[in-house]
Subunit: 312 residues, 2 copies
């Protein structure tokens, strides 16, 4: 018990190694992760959590790095969590980490962590929000969650942020209408990055048109910011846009609704994971699963009756 | 019972309306979905299931449409399932459907269906593989599953296909290394679409270099096909590449392993969904969830102890 509370104290004091160890615990689903998070959770709520998403190739990583440097110039401590679910087995996330460490890694006011999926037991989204809570409790002023891709989990993760930023680039081609329709509801703030490219005006007009079609329940009109992240251009505008939504949200009538929706999602994510773990931890569950998987693969059994047998 | 078996007969005969109704049932998690799938599952295994993924803007939809037309010219029946998890609430998927119906929709040998997420109870991946099974049992020769994005669920869905195709475009920018590292393991076949654009050779060289770094467990060397889908160029090469992997796979020693991994994933997906539904269907579970979500939002309770209370 003493060891536990000492560990918590170190996390709350912002000790980098303890923070990293705590994140590993929630990522691995360690046995003491639950008791850790019960201590951490009441200490959260001070950080501004910024979710950044968008299509691959939009330059999100560079944008995040430049935004982090901007906050550092204001003496704020910044935590960055890069979610990389597209790399189920190999070193995509690790590769990204190494590159970033060269720019930001020597600065003790910046904490960077990549999180990738851990096989098919899931839990990446839950682990990510837990990691955000740890950085929040550890006193980081800004926590940036960057997701590669526009999948379901990534959208959910970004929606749990205080402010969600969607990054586009000029001339994304065929799929842009469809993507925009999907992410319009997520973005509290839109960035058109690589704004020195051809087609920036057209993308801006299209985006404005799409945004004008939808009225958000909270009445917010998401700003559009143009950036050239590689040249450090537009970063202050982005910072101001993020701040303006943060201020708006604190007075919005829908703010409680949003927090409750996020809380519900967190509970369901964790519940799903726990129920599965409870079932699979039973005696001989693993043997049974292997046998049933072989039977389903051989088509001598269907997945539905396999699941019924496990739940029996 | 008679009604049920008549319904099954119609699905097996390829009746479009019955197929559409069956897919709605598995999508909605209807009560009779399990008994339906138990009948369907043993009738599957004839179709060639092709998974197509890649970044937004890569022109996947056009490529899929052209591939479908190619198969139609060989008198084959084609089912297309477009998974659009990026659009949690609005009409992204429906918009896509409408556009496509103009090209392919009047042809009774093509069945098109978009599937979007249904809120935070999940089940999209499970519903998608069930829909594929229905089309397979209904006698479609080719079933193409197209996913927008490179998220975790999308990767899982594509991995359940017989042949997985990853679509790239020249000059995708910063994130390409990371994406490639992630999707390299998924692609049985790679397409560089929009091959009339600048940078096609560089993208091809980079891709070749990356592919040469990794040895697949099955020993397969994924072919790279260049296409210009909008001009209908390279579609036959793609069809041949897909066929060549299908042939290889049927003799590969790792083929059973792959089928068992897919079966295991299907069982776990369904189990996760069923366990959650069972728990939430209990008396007063919904009231309890609402109360706990409000408490977590107010930070008077942490998500972990909320879940413990639900599981009690």
């Amino acid at each position: 018990m003493m060891g536990g509370s000492e560990f918590i104290e170190k996390i709350l004091a912002g000790d980098t190694r303890s923070v990293a160890r705590a994140i590993s615990k929630v990522e691995d689903g360690a046995e003491d992760a639950a008791s850790l998070m019960k201590e951490i959770f009441p200490r959260t709520g001070r950080a501004l959590v910024i979710g950044i998403t968008g299509a691959p190739g939009a330059g999100k990583s560079t944008l995040v790095d430049k935004l982090a440097l901007h906050y550092r110039s204001r003496q704020e401590r910044v935590g960055i969590i890069a979610v990389d679910p597209s790399s189920p087995f190999t070193g995509g996330a690790i590769l990204g980490d190494r590159i970033r460490m060269q720019t930001l890694g020597l600065d003790s006011g910046v904490f960077i962590r990549s999180m990738a999926t851990r096989g098919n037991l899931g839990g990446l989204a839950r682990a990510t929000v837990d990691a955000v809570a740890i950085l929040d409790a550890a006193g980081f002023d800004k926590v940036i969650v960057e997701t590669v891709g526009v999948g379901q989990d990534e959208v959910e993760i970004v929606k749990t942020a205080d402010v969600s930023v969607v990054v586009l680039v000029p001339g994304m081609g065929d799929d842009i209408q469809a993507i925009k329709a999907g992410i319009m509801e997520i973005g509290d703030c839109f960035v058109i990055n690589k704004a020195d490219r051809d087609g920036v005006l057209r993308t801006e007009k299209e985006l404005e048109a799409l945004l004008s079609l939808a009225t958000r329940p909270d009445g917010w009109h998401p700003p559009i910011v143009k950036t050239i992240a590689t040249d450090n251009k537009g970063i202050e505008d982005l910072s101001a846009a993020i701040e303006s939504y943060r201020e708006f949200q604190q007075t919005a009538a829908t703010s409680l609704e949003r927090r409750e929706a996020i809380a519900r999602w967190r509970i369901l994510e964790l519940l799903r994971e726990r129920l599965l773990a409870q079932t699979l931890n039973r005696d001989s569950a693993s043997d049974k699963l292997n046998r049933l998987a072989a039977e389903v693969a051989a088509k001598s059994r269907d997945p539905y009756s396999a699941v019924e047998e496990i739940m029996k």
